[in-house]
Symmetry: C2
Subunit: 320 residues, 2 copies
């Protein structure tokens, strides 16, 4: 194991990559200096992943970094924002070259995919933790806020839900699976597809979105709380993947779909008048999504199955 | 000990404070939405403080928060930037109300002093760690970069140096001091004065500055490296506080002044042609600073005492 100093570490593993738009001064000074595109708002989000709690401590560092960045970019996508820059506060028990090398490889691969550059950071010694702040830009009239759901809006979700929770169960070896299912769920967990461009297209008809990270019902609940509305979704309409259906019984699948989280799909609302335009966008941008319910009066967010309310066992990931 | 959930925690301890300029959407959505003032660059810096390593774990949470924000704002000051917004990624072993209450009190007191608002955050459970990102704005022609030192520039430092390291020794009980000295050093450690307005005034004559965090010699070394120059400073000119002189022998004081760090003073360079203007600014803004040396050809950054090179025992805080 080779260990190195902080300045050396930054230079060796986090320096010298390509610069995206608006980076006047990147890593290496007291601050980074950035230019936000004219007429755009700056969108920022900060997230921490703790080793042993948000991801397995001994996981491949390349995958840890890939996932960390993807999960963070998901917040920009849910706002309809265009990713631009990232900063990284990395806490590691020791500066082990092979680990850092893998981590920076994964980080920069994902950074390149989303066309973001690392503009600043801090490395400290301590228990493994990764804090990423993502920075994007968005036009004031194209941002999708949690507070914009209106009674009568239809509720949609992209892709399939429940895979994130299933993947975690697979990784924790709570379930035994074949090689191909294992590979599918590993992919869903470590390299979730983040729908940046798709979200920007949806932002032309939707003013309200959230990414499914705490669990579909909890996240839709955040929308309801912020908008002062209720929501009713239908269990039978929830989009489940084939690998999930094969993995477990229908009740478990439904529970994971509603309360599992870590899916990083977009849950968004669209007023009835814009559904025709939404269908055009779906075709044009090849976006997979499903209508799962409706925004209603009240303050409750419920899932019905055959007319009865489904109460999932765990409603979203709790930090405390 | 009362523990609470994450959403409750954020609402109770980190919601509802005043909003500074440009906050279109603060805490509570996928992203914060911010407007950078026209014609200005966004300046950002991220820093992590680890409990037990960067500050005593059992320290007063109010002081921990005060110090964390001040130390972070120091990076904006060193760039000549105007502080605007902060984001906080807080990792705590448990959501203890009394601790959180103290922490948020200290954070918001300092935030108000610097006129910044908390626009986003993440709270996670794990070993105590505080990551703050600070965001400011600066005109492109008023930023002070490490790379702008030129041969012949004079080197200055504000206030006094060495107190940060002395304070740490006092806090760690490596030295016994009287009540008034204890109080002085506690203040220097937990509530260092951050020279935001002064730095902006200095930025009209200086294009190059850094804050003294790693240690004066190490930080001036960062300037030298970034600018491709050398520097010579004189031990006899270093500004030392009376409490520091009384606390220890002259060699220890010199060593702390050169290599101690945690002073959060500004080290800056000014070309000879602008010294007259600098003196006007000094008087007008009541800024205390001292000329300590000169930028020279070469790549070495040295301190001379009676013509001989002083080699301090510890050159800056090393993370690894």
């Amino acid at each position: 194991m080779t260990t190195i100093g902080e300045f050396e570490l930054i230079e060796q593993f986090f320096g010298g990559q390509f610069a995206s738009y608006g980076v006047n001064l990147g890593i290496g000074d007291d601050c980074a200096l950035l230019t936000v595109p004219p007429e755009k708002q700056l969108a920022v989000s900060i997230d921490t992943l703790i080793g042993g709690s948000h991801f397995p401590r001994n996981a491949d560092p390349e995958l840890i970094a890939e996932r960390a960045l993807r999960v963070s970019i998901s917040d920009l996508a849910a706002m309809g924002a265009d990713p631009m820059w990232i900063t990284l506060a990395l806490t590691i028990p020791s500066a082990e070259s092979s680990w850092l090398s893998g981590f920076s490889r994964g980080l920069f691969r994902a950074a390149e995919e989303f066309n973001v550059s690392l503009v600043g950071g801090d490395t400290t010694r301590g228990p493994l933790a990764i804090t990423l702040q993502v920075h994007g830009s968005v036009s004031p009239d194209k941002s999708m806020l949690r507070s914009n759901a209106r009674v009568g809006d239809l509720v949609f979700v992209t892709g399939t839900v429940g895979d994130g929770a299933a993947a975690l169960a697979v990784i924790k070896k709570e379930l035994e699976v074949g090689k191909s299912a294992f590979s599918y769920f590993m992919g869903r967990y470590y390299t979730p597809k983040i729908l940046v461009r798709q979200a920007q297209a949806l932002a032309t008809v939707s003013r309200c979105a959230i990414d499914v990270s705490d669990g579909l019902l909890a996240d839709l609940g955040h929308i309801c709380k912020a908008s002062g509305v209720g929501a009713v979704i239908e269990a039978e309409r929830l989009p489940l993947s084939d690998p999930l259906r094969k993995l477990c019984d229908p009740d478990t699948a439904l529970n994971w779909a509603l309360a599992g989280g870590d899916d990083y799909q977009l849950c968004f609302t669209v007023p009835p008048a814009k559904i025709a335009r939404l269908e055009e966008i779906q075709e044009q941008h090849q976006i997979e999504f499903t209508a799962i319910g409706e925004i209603v009066r009240g303050d409750e967010c419920v899932c019905l199955s055959g007319g009865r309310v489904v109460v999932p066992e765990k409603t979203g990931y709790k930090h405390f």
